[in-house]
């Protein structure tokens, strides 16, 4: 395809926008992973660490992935009762690392519908941040470590 002037202008504009976004909020996504699920599982959890090395606070405000439903979740504990719930955003303050990990904040992949998360698979997804915009990530599906300790 031949680029006309209009396309070039838009491309330049987008380039400058993404440059601005990166200058304002520098986010590093580490170790995006999900645990393999049994064949009949209806949901799976996604985990990662997000580090904000920039000077500005940011927030994870959404995620897109190829499932009937994907949400940002957290689990809270009160008197030994676990309550998992949807959250609208996850704050990523300047200079901090926020961990999405089992028993707390997580990505909830819902509606697996007979297509379980299998070890070795990858889940392409797009994280949406308030300031940094969209960042593509790939979750590795790994076997659950049974020898964990709290």
């Amino acid at each position: 395809m031949k680029m006309n002037t209009k396309t070039l202008v838009i491309a330049a504009l987008l380039a400058s926008l993404s440059a601005t976004a990166q200058a304002e909020s520098t986010l590093t996504i580490e170790n995006p992973k999900a645990f393999a699920t049994p064949a009949t599982a209806m949901s799976g959890g996604g985990f990662m660490q997000i580090t904000n090395t920039g000077p500005t606070d940011d927030a994870l405000i959404g995620i897109q992935a190829d499932f009937p439903r994907v949400e940002l979740h957290t689990t809270e504990f009160t008197d030994g009762v676990a309550r998992m719930m949807h959250v609208d955003d996850i704050a990523i303050p300047a200079g901090e690392t926020v961990a999405l990990e089992p028993g707390g904040l997580h990505i909830m992949f819902m509606g697996l519908n007979g297509d379980p998360l299998e070890e070795g698979e990858t889940i392409p997804a797009t994280l949406i941040f308030k300031n940094a915009g969209e960042i593509a990530v790939t979750f590795d599906v790994v076997k659950r470590d049974m020898a964990h300790s709290h």
């Binding site: 645990f35 699920t37 049994p38 064949a39 009949t40 599982a41 209806m42 949901s43 799976g44 959890g45 439903r69 689990t75 504990f77 008197d79 030994g80 009762v81 676990a82 309550r83 998992m84 719930m85 089992p102 028993g103 997580h106 909830m108 992949f109 819902m110 509606g111 659950r144 049974m146 020898a147 964990h148 300790s149 709290h150």
Partner: protein, 200 residues
């Protein structure tokens, strides 16, 4: 869907009673655990096994057993706790001590026999997964004084609040103690072995 209702007030009251019981009747236990004297936790239940058969507590608690109530839609807490219980069983097995592990679903609507079987096989080849009718599950939960409540508003992807303690139950004497979430597999193995030395 009709949620099983143990309201927040009931939960708070139960927690308060639990605390009261704890402070007044807890006797020092040589196993160094949180044994609550005189409490009526546990007892008979009727549920549906991984093979689709109706079973009673006597059918499935045939040896000292760790009993946990959860739901498989929960992607991290229930698997973590179930894996921890399985780990405790494996640790004891290494010492030649045989215990059972049971997972009871509090989400019988979605947790079919097959789903519960798949879920438990994942953690320990001998872990027993139980589900049942809403009435059967409710009765078992009441007997063990666990709390669960379906969050309303989503017919398909609803979430369920639920207790996370694991009970140590003996075939003859019933409830022995319970373990909170932050108890390690090593601690569970040690305390369970201690109770087995005492009670059997």
């Amino acid at each position: 869907m009709k949620p099983v209702i143990f309201g927040t007030a009931t939960l708070a009251a139960a927690a308060a009673i639990g605390l009261y019981t704890w402070q007044t009747t807890t006797t020092p236990n040589p196993c160094g655990s949180t044994s609550v004297a005189g409490s009526a936790i546990g007892g008979p239940f009727e549920l549906v096994s991984e093979n689709g058969e109706t079973v009673t507590d006597a059918d499935v608690i045939t040896k000292p057993t760790l009993v946990y109530f959860g739901y498989t839609f929960c992607p991290d807490v229930c698997p973590l706790d179930s894996a921890r219980n399985a780990q405790a069983a494996y640790l004891l097995e290494e010492q030649g001590i045989d215990i059972g592990t049971i997972f009871i679903s509090v989400d019988p609507e979605r947790d079919t026999v097959e789903v519960v079987r798949d879920f438990t096989e994942n953690f320990h080849e001998d872990m027993i997964g139980l589900t049942g009718t809403p009435e059967q599950v409710r009765a078992a939960s009441l007997a063990y004084k666990t709390y669960y409540r379906v969050q309303e508003g989503d017919p398909e992807y609803y979430l369920v609040d639920h207790s996370t303690q694991t009970y140590l139950v003996f075939p003859e004497t019933g409830f022995a103690t319970f373990f909170r979430r932050d108890t390690t597999p090593e601690q569970i193995a040690e305390i369970t072995a201690c109770f087995m030395g005492e009670l059997t």
